[in-house]
Amino acid sequence: MFSRNHRSRVTVARGSALEMEFKRGRFRLSLFSDPPEDTELQRKLDHEIRMREGACKLLAACSQREQALEATKSLLVCNSRILSYMGELQRRKEAQVLGKTGRRPSDSGPPAERSPCHGRVCISDLRIPLMWKDTEYFKNKGDLHRWAVFLLLQLGEHIQDTEMILVDRTLTDISFQSNVLFTEAGPDFELRLELYGACVEEEGALTGAPKRLATKLSSSLGRSSGRRVRASLDSAGGSGSSPILLPTPAVSGPRYHLLAHTTLTLAAVQDGFRTHDLTLASHEENPAWLPLYGSVCCRLAAQPLCMTQPTASGTLRVQQAVEMQNWVRVHGVLKGTNLFCYRRPEDADTGEEPLLTIAINKETRVRAGELDQAPGRPFTLSISNQYGDDEVTHTLQTESREALQSWMEALWQLFFDMSQWKQCCDEIMKIETPAPRKPPQALAKQGSLYHEMAIEPLDDIAAVTDILTQREGARLETPPPWLAMFTDQPALPHPCSAASVAPAPAWTQPLPWGRPRTFSLDAVPPDHSPRARSVAPLPPQRSPRTRDLCSKGQPRTWLQSPV
């Protein structure tokens, strides 16, 4: 029968050279094989390092404050994860070296201590109330002081973040939409919650001064470059560098400060909303300080695996009626707080109703027994529950002594898990799989002309010139190939073309581009050219294959249509 808690062991072939080496004490199997969990962690670490490099590059390329804030947040999360994974790898290596001396993998025997099953922990509907003082409404009138905040959540070595939210004094709470799910929590988990904040506007009390100076400068600079300076200042500034000069990309971006933190444990888990205290970590002098009320509301749910996954299953026989002779064969599945007895093994998957359901909870008592009256299958399992004044006992026959042992073991493990996970085992708490979060607003690709091209109707080509100067540099001496699209005549020496080929003034050689040839379903012009005569005419059913340069005839029309 299947039982969850039996771990499979690494096997070494008998009589192999490897086994001989082990026997000689040369190697330890644990050192020899890299546990798969470590390679997984290493892979995650490498991934975060790459992400961090990407975030640094993105931050350096950002020109807008909001982009820089998102990039800095990514960087912060990457850094935290890197530290956490490295710490975990270190811990595991140490445990490997220290903990396993002398113990051979072939040593059998049940583990001395039972360990509880893991579970999924999900925190959602996070809300942090704010407490604006009256003065906040009257301070800096006109300019809405804004903050960018997000939460960093850590459980074990796993770190996750919420989305970044912009906060101003019109909000009474910071509400995060994210659901954050941790899949490998033990009942002794510690979920650390950290709130980080940064100013959206440039930090420092001098925000006013450079703006005025820059405005003065901008009017004395050229029209378009001046406009650029003003535009960059208006759009929440550059990335932390001095705004007086034309913005230069700086690697240092906005700074996030830790505003508050708290740690949640199993005691905080509840299938509903609860309020927890926050430890405030910053004070009013901090530029990113926010008036937090001091608490956080959330729904913290936990689903231990014993509640959602079957812990044991196998063949059993139950008594249909009081008479001992009538034993019915069933497929038993121990899951959560119930032992389901299905008529057939497939019923468990198809959702059929079980023949019998026996409740298993903290009050249930279980006994192993042997029946003399039932020869051949004497091993029984008795499960007793108290319902009010009545005690109801179910007696089940197991296939063999080993099967009985396995069932007892599974039940003991379940009781242990229940004692550890406590309120989480009363009923299954619903956890919604978090929807994949939308990536932050598409960041304009740097280097793209389109990012800069906001040409107003009154702007003239001078605006384009400026932008192009920045982008193209002084590379272009020869006319670019695309200008060939604008020549009046095709440059291909064409025996049939009426006018002589006159290449555009800038070029001295004829361009060998062919006249575009497509096959249109529209009316085909008559074929007059001597050149085309040598090519066999194509069948008329052919649909326009615009990638083919098929010669059919030269179009003689220039159609115009109103749109």
Binding site: L449, Y450, M453, I455, I461, V464, T465, D466, L468, T469, E472, A474, L476, T478, P479, P480, P481, W482, L483, A484, M485, F486, D488, Q489, P490, A491, S497, A498, A499, L511, P512, W513, G514, R515, P516, T518, S520, L521, D522, P544, T546, R547, L549, Q554, P555, R556, T557, W558, L559, Q560, S561, P562, V563
Partner: protein, 98 residues
Amino acid sequence: MSYIPGQPVTAVVQRVEIHKLRQGENLILGFSIGGGIDQDPSQNPFSEDKTDKVNGWDMTMVTHDQARKRLTKRSEEVVRLLVTRQSLQKAVQQSMLS
């Protein structure tokens, strides 16, 4: 260095967004288009703008009819064009000299 129709080309372009006007039951743009890959370019009286893209649809290799159809879709109220102009190159050249 040449322009070969059918081959990819890099050009300096300008993005134009036009909201269609309502004329009776129809949505119109208010101008005319000419040309198409199946038309004779030597008869082009203008050589001002070339349209590369309409609302994401590629226009570099379309017939006149296809181009017209893509611009006059009933369901689209806004048309976003990528347009290239010869004068854009002049702008680049001017900026090189200055």
